[in-house]
Amino acid sequence: MEMVTRKLVTIITEAVIEKVLIGELDNLRVSGYTITDARGKGHRGLRSAGWEHGANIRIEVICDEAMADSIAVKLKEQYYENYAMVLYVSDVRIMRPEKFQP
């Protein structure tokens, strides 16, 4: 299987800003994203799904390095300070790079 390396950006944050973040990702022209519901604990305390205000979401975006950087910069500038948020990046191998082009 011929594969190429891309970045997988994972964002864990407050469910209440799902719509807003999706707007940001769309603006950055990511080719897609995947969201799952989550709960968790971090510096801003326990976030316990079950009730909208306490719930987290987990967003994954597969993209190239430049886009990963743009996402990280955007979120750092505008969201890190005020929202429960974690972002991490890892390497993944994919098969159809054209699919993940903006």
Binding site: E14, V16, I17, V20, G45, S48, A49, G50, W51, E52, H53, A55, Y79, E81, N82, Y83
Partner: protein
Amino acid sequence: MSSLDPVVLFFLLGLVAGLLRSDLRLPAAIYEFLTVILLLAIGLKGGVELAGQDLRQVVPQMAAVVVMGVVLTFIAYPALRLLGRFDKVNAAAIAAHYGSVSVGTFAVAVAYMASRQVVFEPHLPVFVVILEIPAIVVGVVIAKGRKNSAKWASLAHETLLGKSIVLLVGGLLIGWVMGPKAIESVGGLFIEPFKGVLALFLLEMGLLCAAQVSTLRKYGAFLICFGVVMPVVGAAIGTGLGWTLGLSYGGTALLATLAGSASYIAVPAAMRISVPESNPSLSLAASLGVTFPFNVTLGIPLYLEMARRIHGVEV
């Protein structure tokens, strides 16, 4: 004890279970289901009774109620800022919660009055809808200034088309268009089980309320005092306004309840988007952890008593 409505005991059950760290929780989907039924039921009942009414007299009342929402927010803000020593954004955000309303509290008050055969004007649910919004606007303006450009449109959209307004207004319209037929038709889900649904909803509210205790412990006495005093002040204003507007005894008590209640759904969501610097734990601890339990246990009977006195009604 005998003056308590059974549904309030469900709240206490949830509260105690939560404080004892029971693993009891209603699934999120069920909580939403219950909320949807309550909102539609309140809307439908109001709409049906509104059907025969002359709505012209209601419009000036609506304007007065909007003003009340603004005033309540402007009363809460300096109290939080000066007495509570909160910074601008947090004081504004918490104030917005108290200028707005809690539909859950309204539902408990409606049930409480029904069990005492106290009647009220059918357009009270309209006030619930109307009161959700002005406090949000005031809160955002205080925190951010008026130029908080571009975002106003999306904030308006979020708020006006939020779940609770859509369901309340939708219920009102359906009840109004269909009349009593609406309730006959769908009453088997929305009317007969209403108090049972409210009881289960309050069970979950008790659990959510218990979860606020750790925040309350951290931020201490002021938040607790504010969460008890502000509703009483609000209710006093609501009582006065209700009486001035010529509302009935029951209508006055309900308007007082609305004034005295604090939002825990619409406003937190709006603040998270529009005033993200504010700390959501603070306002939820006050509104969910103090004011809601106060209102459903002691507040509502008190507000009814206040309305009774101002109207000089015998019981």
